[in-house]
Amino acid sequence: MPGEDTTALEIDREKGNFSYDIKYAYDAGTGLNEGVIDYICDVKGEDDWIRAFRKKALKVFEEKPMPTHWATKDLETINFDKIRYYLAQDKKPKRTWDEVPDDIKQTFERLGIPEQERKFLAGVEAQFDSEAAYSNIKEAVGKQGVIFIGSTEGLMKHPEIFRKYFGKVIPTADNKFSALNSAVFSGGSFIYVPPGVKVSHPLQAYFRINAENFGQFERTLIIADEGSEVTYMEGCTAPKFNTSTLHSAVVELVALKGAKIEYITVQNWAANVFNLVTKRAWAEEGATVKWIDCNIGSRLTMKYPGVVLKGRGARGEVLSIALANDGQHQDTGAKMIHLAPDTTSNIISKSISVGEGRATYRGQVHIPKHLTGCKNNTECDALLINTNSRTDTYPAISVRGNKNFVQHEASVSKVSAEQIFYMMQRGLTEGEAMSLSVNGFVNDLTRQFPMEYSVELKRLIDLEMEGSVG
């Protein structure tokens, strides 16, 4: 299989379903305590302030209750004592592809990573369990002053840039899982784009879980300085183990005056991964942050990308597609916090529930007092394919102030029998007709995605729709 065609960015489920028996040089063991944190700090050679930051976060994590008063009870099945919090073969990422160990190289080649880089990416980082196995940035982009490195490296080498914002957009105590991440984070991307620099090609990261009972806690911080522009894409896969795996990332974005950040995620974890991710952005005056979030895999995803609109005229956008198949719960949504006048936000969420899958939209729109000229538009549409598919919508909208306009709309529908009949009359099978309808349902969103992603998503939907009818 490694020799197979992997030209496109593969996100189909079976492609990721393999694992290698890796000998880990660094293993913090199972369970979480101060010793684990000391181990991680020692291995990484971190400064004392990072150690203190982690230990404080551990306390917060231990004190916070599970959010099961509003979220699914499935969260209670996570056993934090059985998880391995740090696993790495090497603590330093390789800069050239040849240096990467063969088994890890095979993993990423099967997933098409170097292929992508050769083609058009400005930089790529591939994380294997806890540490980046490979990280490289094209020379031209590096020369523009763009920094693209791992989390610990970023905090140690460029504290003057990253420390200022680290843990500020998403404070440790934001929620139980952001606290967990703050305690044991490892890997992820720290990116700085200098003023006025427009990174022409996307930066990319790939996250891979290889080990059973493992928890991946990458930490990403992207700072786009005044007037700069950057696009970042991430993909994730994991093999299907018998026991569940935990992925809990924290992603912070800072768009300074007039900057633009676009963050694209295609999440295709195996169907037993708990994917509990906190993502939030700050948008200062005139800045734009756009989250494109596609959730296809995982057992339970809870992720509500947010934008805090801090400066006048800032804009936030979340475009979200979720597909929940049997045994899956996609609990996704968006948060828009308006803190300055004339800020605008747009949320478009489309979910598809197949078989006994459950898709949930949870959203928050907040416009406080004394603001004028703020606008929000929210649309969430749900498509239910089978009789026992399930969908929920839980928005929360708070509006104060003057001359602010907010509208929220949601609809639930199924594929119309007439449409299917019409297509079948013209020679399509029922499955093909269903795929076409579903693709039509998400089409106005996928059109806005980078081409590779929209093509891939289309293929993925075809795949998921196979066998869903009849």
């Binding site: 009789t387 929920d392 509006v399 709309e409």
Partner: protein, 449 residues
């Protein structure tokens, strides 16, 4: 009593004494009724108060919810009662009327002999528990509240003494409305209205509940419940006009149950209270049933109007429609939290939910939580929520034609609410509602003049 987050371990001593007194006064009531109340009072003590973290109370101000310090045995003088009975006409043409003041029956206009002969029952609660114990035992508080007011339901059951039973048997249609008026007439008094409407197959009836305070500035507690059961193929039109004093802590918990092919049209007008919590749950129990839930609220000063709704589609081929409109002035707050729940087998459901908020000031605050939980695929469901202000261009248009700003605003608000008011079929009642809106709006204007 403090309103800390901890569950109340015991009832306040004041409340316990009041309950003993209340029970002692229930001498004529049957044993099952007394037992029910005793149990309910114990349940009240066991259940926790809502906290800031209780999902069904999200965004609500929890600090003002203390139920201690109200007089559950309050009673004004007989002359006040007579006067209130007189003031309580509401509609000239009616099928029956019952008036309470401070939970005491002051007027009972019975149904005509003709309706009585057909088996129509329109009785105050005290009479109903003695004469129609079988109906009460089956239907009294038969639907548990699911929207967060379990504790308050228990307190209501423990202390309720005023209320109305309206029973309309099979195939009987009553065109004129039945009216129940509840007055709060004593400073610091607690009133507990209760309305129970049951219709037999293909029956038709209209019921109006109207709540008022004798003194617009008196402090008080209102803890009202209603249960509406529409039998197969029947139709119930149900109105609640809430106009308690500005210093009232008010609860109104509505429960609607529609059997096969039954229709319930419920409409609420919310004017009064410092803090008003209104829960409305409707159950589409039989195929072809329909529930219409309309509400209009005007909130001003530091009023908080907190409305929670739940549309439960248990059976397929049923429809429900909800429209809640709020106008907010000054520093008022409104909360609308709605949920449509479609059960796994309720195919061919049509369910809609709309919340519209009109902000008349920059300090007002509107929260919307329009939710859906759908477990069947062949359904049509949608919800929408909007929050906006009076359109500047439209206002300019009016000003340019010589209409002054106050009148223009009034027209906008009236236009905003007319969508709901126009659904009231009884013209006399519709004009009462318009009067209520106008009165509240004029008061608001006068304060700003």
């Amino acid at each position: 009593m403090s309103t800390s987050a901890s569950p109340m371990s015991t009832n306040g001593t004041g409340l316990a004494a009041a309950f003993e007194k209340h029970q002692a006064a229930q001498t004529g009531a049957p044993a099952w009724w007394q037992e029910l109340k005793k149990k309910a009072f114990a349940t009240y003590g066991e259940l926790p108060m809502p906290t800031r973290k209780t999902e069904t109370w999200r965004f609500a101000s929890i600090s003002g919810l203390s139920l201690e310090g109200y007089d559950f045995g309050a009673s004004a003088t007989g002359t006040v009662h007579t006067e209130l009975a007189d003031r309580a006409r509401l509609v000239a043409q009616r099928a029956g009327r019952i008036v309470f003041a401070d939970n005491k029956l002051v007027t009972h206009e019975r149904v005509s002999d003709e309706l009585a002969a057909q088996g129509v029952i329109f009785a105050p609660l005290a009479e109903a528990i003695v004469k129609h114990g079988d109906i009460l035992q089956e239907y009294f508080m038969a639907q548990d509240p699911q929207l967060g007011s379990e504790k308050f339901a228990a307190l209501h059951t423990a202390f309720v003494s005023s209320g109305v039973l309206l029973y309309v048997p099979k195939n009987v249609e009553v065109t004129l409305p039945f009216v129940a008026r509840y007055w709060s007439a004593t400073q610091g008094g607690a009133v507990l209205p209760h309305t129970l409407v049951i219709t037999g197959e293909n029956a038709k009836v209209t019921m109006v509940d109207a709540f008022d305070s004798a003194d617009r500035s008196s402090r008080g507690l209102a803890l009202g419940f209603n249960h509406i059961f529409a039998g197969r193929g029947s139709r119930i039109d149900y109105y609640v006009l809430q106009n308690w004093s500005d210093q009232t802590l008010g609860f109104q918990i509505n429960s609607l149950t529609a059997e096969r092919d039954a229709t319930i049209n419920a409409l609420a007008v919310n004017i009064g209270c410092a803090h008003y919590r209104c829960e409305t749950q409707s159950i589409m129990k039989g195929e072809g049933s329909h529930a219409e839930m309309l509400s209009l609220s005007i909130a001003d000063r530091d009023q908080e109007i907190d409305q929670r709704t739940l549309q439960i589609h248990q059976a397929g081929h049923a429809t429900s429609n909800l429209l809640f409109k709020n106008a907010l002035a000054d520093e008022a707050r409104t909360i609308f939290s709605g949920l449509i729940r479609v059960a796994p087998d309720a195919q061919k459901t049509d369910a809609y939910q709309t919340n519209r908020n009109l902000l008349l000031s920059g300090e007002a605050e509107a929260h919307s939580l329009p939710g859906l939980e759908i477990e069947a695929n062949d359904v049509k469901c949608s919800h929408g929520a909007t929050t906006s202000q009076i359109d500047e261009a439209e206002l300019f248009y009016m000003l340019a034609r010589g209409i002054n700003k106050a009148v223009a605003r009034e027209l906008f608000v009236f236009g905003f609410f007319e969508e709901v008011v126009s659904k009231i079929e009884n013209e006399e009642l519709a004009s009462r509602v318009r009067e209520l809106i106008l009165q509240k709006f004029r008061e608001e204007e006068a304060r700003h003049a």
